[in-house]
């Protein structure tokens, strides 16, 4: 939990700089690429996580990898992380930065699970409906979950809109059970 809190602080600082210099999207792209590379390369992950490798070495590796490819702000940020020995937080910072950018640009992440795959038209319809009800742009991440039996479940942040057949059945069961206990009371 603590890590998330620290990562959020760093992400906020980076966002502030990027905002001033008008490179929010560039930095986002850089961070996304860095995140991907981290996922792909085991060696890089090991380097970042290792407390044994000295600060100078890490900085040199970062420079060689990204110096010419990323924005100045991103590079400076990576070096700062290395300097403060927080480089193991990169993955979390990337995540937090994306969240902050979404918030800044009024984008909401909606996680949609459905029993059968949604057609493109259905997904578009869902997106416009969700955008209308939330007043923000909605990015839909769809997945299929046959256990729902039918219908779909949308999760935006902490709020869940459950219109699945599974939930309906659960509610029906609760209702019936309540009724039986009440009749025998």
């Amino acid at each position: 939990m603590k890590n998330v809190r620290v990562a959020r602080r760093y992400a906020q600082a980076l966002m502030a700089i990027a905002g001033e210099r008008n490179v929010v999207d560039e930095v986002a792209r850089d961070l996304e690429a860095i995140g991907k590379l981290l996922l792909a390369s085991r060696d890089l992950r090991a380097l970042v996580a290792s407390p044994v490798i000295r600060e100078g070495k890490k900085k040199a590796v970062f420079r060689e990898l990204w110096d010419t490819r990323v924005d100045r702000a991103t590079m400076a940020f990576l070096l700062l992380l290395a300097h403060k020995q927080r480089e193991h937080l990169i993955a979390e910072v990337v995540e937090e930065y994306q969240a902050l950018r979404d918030e800044r640009q009024g984008i909401l992440d909606a996680e949609v699970r459905s029993a059968v795959p949604l057609s493109a038209a259905q997904e578009r319809e869902l997106r416009t409906r969700l955008a209308r009800s939330t007043g923000k742009n909605v990015r839909v991440r769809a997945s299929v979950d046959p256990a729902l039996r039918g219908g779909l479940v949308v999760r935006i942040g902490d709020t869940v809109v459950d219109a699945s057949v599974r939930r309906q059945l659960e509610r029906l069961r609760e209702l019936l059970r309540e009724d039986v206990t009440n009749t025998h009371a």
């Binding site: 939990m1 809190r5 942040g157 869940v160 459950d162 209702l175 009724d179 009371a185």
Partner: protein
């Protein structure tokens, strides 16, 4: 269980299905980060409010106690073993509450209002939150009606009024619970037709058992049942086996149930047995939630824990129906140490205390009340006139007796006045002894104490005082029931009554003396 007919099932199903619309269910969720020892930390639930109920898997409920930057601290009211890290939890949108109503009377429930006596569900619709704000100044009035405990020593010298908060404090095994139970049992008299004629309103009782052994609670329920007191009593049990969060909220649940009676213009009595255990349970959950420990490792708000509970005891103004909620909190001390943290706190909050001492108890003075340091700060206004008239004298006589008692142990050369004081005191102490589960109606207390303070016992040997009282009251009941009735109705000892009583006593004392050969 009655047989369910097939057609009945179909009818129920049809009715249910007819009202069952396919609509989306909207709820807020969070994820369990950490769980154990009756508390859980949850990520998400960003809209959760303080003391809201949270639904965990396996039908376990929790209550929000900590709202932090990125997580929510919860206490669990059920088995935490089945809950795992990463489980999804739901907000319920309602704060911790329990059902209230008359149907709760005669039942044993847990602090969430669920029955634990195995007698089926309780049909009650109204829900009230467990934590409620105490009433303000405008809604209250001073206590004025007596709450008779049926215990001579208490009703005479430490009177309790309806709406008062009187602490019962003492070491273990000194009869704290006995006083509370006797008081509950004595409320039986307020439910009768006779009480109604005398203008005494019934008192509904709630006994909150916190952190006690289940067997002790079962015993209490059994006693109340045998004495016919369960009809107007609810027992709220959070036993030692229940999770600490249950023990922490139990007194508030009791207060809520009591407030239901108070707010509908009736009178209620709540016994919190005992608040030491509740403070310990609260200390446990506070430390687990990583709140900083203070004195005796209690959290900083342990005073507020008890003050907000006891402030809920009140006497409502007449515009609001004049109902009342009397609180009898119990505190257990260690080796008579009333200057420990929790005892001093609760002493300062309440309107007086009944102090029980083990050496009195062990020397046969039962109830073992130390009348010297026990006080009732507001109950005097609620005492009936008859009792007020004779109790002043009783207090004085006993105080003088205590002063001379130690002194008298040294020498035998005492002057006449000292001897008389000692003689009187020893008999009054004897007179105030009373068995358990035998509460005495106030009119009998009055005549019996009248006999003591007016010197009719001075000639009787100390060992015969108990017999004197018993036979005297039997005789009063047989031959002078009208006199007892008159005291009960007028609630006063008029000069005429005093004169008659004196004549009766003179005759009775003479015949008693010759009977025992004194």
């Amino acid at each position: 269980m009655t047989e369910v007919r097939p057609e009945e099932v179909s009818a129920i199903l049809r009715r249910q299905l007819a009202g069952f619309e396919k609509e989306a269910d909207i709820y807020d969720v969070g994820t369990v980060l950490q769980v154990g020892d009756g508390v859980a930390r949850i990520y998400g639930l960003s809209k959760a409010v303080m003391s809201e109920l949270i639904e965990f898997p396996h039908g376990v409920f929790g209550m929000v106690l900590n709202l932090e930057e990125d997580n929510v601290g919860c206490i669990l009211f059920g088995e935490s073993r089945e809950i795992k890290e990463g489980d999804t939890v739901k907000r319920t949108g309602r704060v911790a509450s329990l059902p209230v109503g008359e149907s709760m009377l005669g039942r044993v429930i847990n602090p969430l209002g669920q029955p634990v006596d195995g007698r089926g569900p309780i049909g009650s619709g109204q829900m009230m939150p467990v934590e409620r704000k105490a009433l303000g100044v405008i809604q209250r009035q001073p206590v004025k009606e007596p709450l008779q405990t049926g215990i001579k020593a208490v009703d005479a010298m430490i009177p309790i009024g309806r709406g008062q908060r009187e602490l019962i404090i003492g070491d273990r095994q000194t009869g704290k619970t006995a006083i509370a139970l006797d008081t509950i049992i004595n409320q039986r008299t307020t439910q009768t037709e006779k009480a109604r004629r005398e203008g005494i309103k019934p008192v509904y009782c709630i006994y909150v058992a916190i952190g006690q052994k289940s067997s002790t609670v079962a015993q209490v329920v059994d006693t109340l049942q045998q004495e016919g007191a369960m009809e107007y009593t609810t027992v709220i049990a959070a036993t030692a086996t229940d999770p600490a969060p249950m023990q922490y909220i139990a007194p508030y649940a009791g207060a809520t149930l009591g407030e239901y009676f108070r707010d509908s213009g009736r009178h209620a009595l709540v016994v919190y047995d005992d608040l030491t255990k509740q403070a310990q349970a609260y200390r446990q959950v506070s430390l687990l939630l990583r709140r900083p420990p203070g004195r005796e490792a209690y959290p900083g708000d342990v005073f507020y824990l008890h003050s907000r509970l006891l402030e809920r005891a009140s006497k409502l103004s007449d515009e609001l129906g004049g109902g009342s909620l009397t609180a009898l909190p119990v505190i257990e001390t260690q080796a008579g140490d009333v200057s420990a943290y929790i005892p001093t706190n609760v002493i300062s909050i309440t309107d007086g205390q009944i102090y029980l001492e083990p050496n009195l108890f062990n020397s046969g003075i039962r109830p073992g009340i130390n009348v010297g340091i026990s006080v009732s700060r507001v109950g005097g206004h609620a005492q009936i006139k008859a009792m007020k008239k004779i109790a002043g004298r009783l207090r004085l006589d006993l105080a003088q007796y205590r002063e001379l008692e130690a002194f008298a142990k040294f020498g035998s050369d005492l002057d006449k006045a000292t001897l008389a004081t000692l003689r009187r005191g020893a008999r009054l102490v004897e007179l105030l002894k009373q068995g358990q589960y035998v509460p005495m109606p106030v009119e009998k207390q009055v005549v019996s104490i009248f006999a003591g303070t007016n010197g009719y016992l001075d000639e009787i040997p100390v060992e015969h005082v108990e017999r004197f009282e018993r036979e005297f009251l039997e005789m009063m009941e047989l031959k002078h029931a009208d006199m007892l009735q008159a005291i009960a109705e007028a609630k006063d000892l008029t000069d005429d009554l005093v004169n008659v009583l004196k004549t009766i006593l003179r005759q009775f004392t003479d015949s008693f003396k010759s009977a025992v050969g004194a």
